[in-house]
Symmetry: C2
Subunit: 188 residues, 2 copies
């Protein structure tokens, strides 16, 4: 009764990807400084010591998580742009916005971007990752949508507004000011 089990132990590369995926949830709550490597290890189901065999430092782990998130966001926008190919710039941007709204319905991905911003202020490596992430995102959105500078800028401004809405829990409160901030912003 020897079932086909190609591997019981994971390869280091597989583990690294598992850690990257699960660390998103760990870092999402309390960001770079507020999250311990023990929490990251627990989320990944490995020992804390092994985190340090897979990543050289907490900083590089967090930076890798941030990069991973940007890749996911970009992939979602690419999918949306492909579906809306040939339409007007506004339609493409709307499709991208909708795809982004769906992608971040989980919230963790967006919170990582917020915490990346916060950490970028004083951590050069994180800042570099965030700069590159946004650089690629902006260039891609401009190229794929063909929108004007203003339209693209507006797209990202609304994205940042989304971060505010989620982070301070605007959607938990029903009041005139919350309706103003969240007007027209879909939340799946």
């Amino acid at each position: 009764m020897k079932t086909e089990r190609p591997r019981q132990l994971s390869t280091a590369e597989e583990r690294r990807e598992t850690v990257l995926r699960t660390a998103i949830g760990a870092f999402a709550a309390r960001g770079y400084w507020g999250t311990t490597t023990t929490e990251v290890a627990k989320a990944a189901g490995i020992s804390q010591a092994y985190v340090y065999r897979l990543f050289p430092s907490k900083e590089q782990l967090f930076t890798a998580v941030v990069e991973h998130c940007f890749v996911q966001v970009r992939a979602a926008l690419e999918q949306a742009a492909a579906d809306a190919r040939g339409s007007s710039a506004q339609v493409v941007l709307d499709a991208m916005g909708d795809a982004y709204a769906r992608l971040i319905s989980n919230n963790d991905l967006m919170l990582i971007q917020l915490h990346a911003q916060a950490a970028a202020v004083s951590e050069p490596a994180v800042r570099a990752a965030a700069q590159q992430g946004y650089a690629r995102l902006v260039e891609y959105v401009r190229g794929a949508s063909g929108g004007t500078e203003q339209e693209v800028q507006q797209f990202f401004a609304l994205g940042m507004l989304c971060h505010l809405i989620v982070s301070i829990g605007v959607d938990e409160v029903d009041a005139p000011w919350t309706r103003t901030l969240a007007a027209g912003i879909t939340h799946y």
Copy 2:
């Protein structure tokens, strides 16, 4: 040579205000979890122990700092709105935006708002302070400008875009994507 010194009992209150003012600079770099109470004490020129005589906990200290920042922002917008009284909604909003740009030329005030967002995710007290701060801000901007929901929302979306620009240092890079994000945003 006995000079007149009327006050003496309010000195603790004075100290508290000093700490609030100087703690902005301390928390601005690394936020709630990344900043130690020793750093806050050093910035205020007092011992770390005395911070805990003035504030019951680090959380309440940070929350007070956040509230203090919102008060300052609101005061700046009020001044701008007073100067532009009687103009159209867009003119008032522009004046407010300009006042905000001037206020945060120091960066620290804005970074506190960013770190408040980050901490609000998992710290209920900070979240409550941020909610109240933005609630008052939104209501005030709407009332003082008379702008439509969309205009007011746009005002705050651009504010959030400012946070991104400063936090990841967009203005340090000169590239098409940075020009797109920062287009029309004045930075004193």
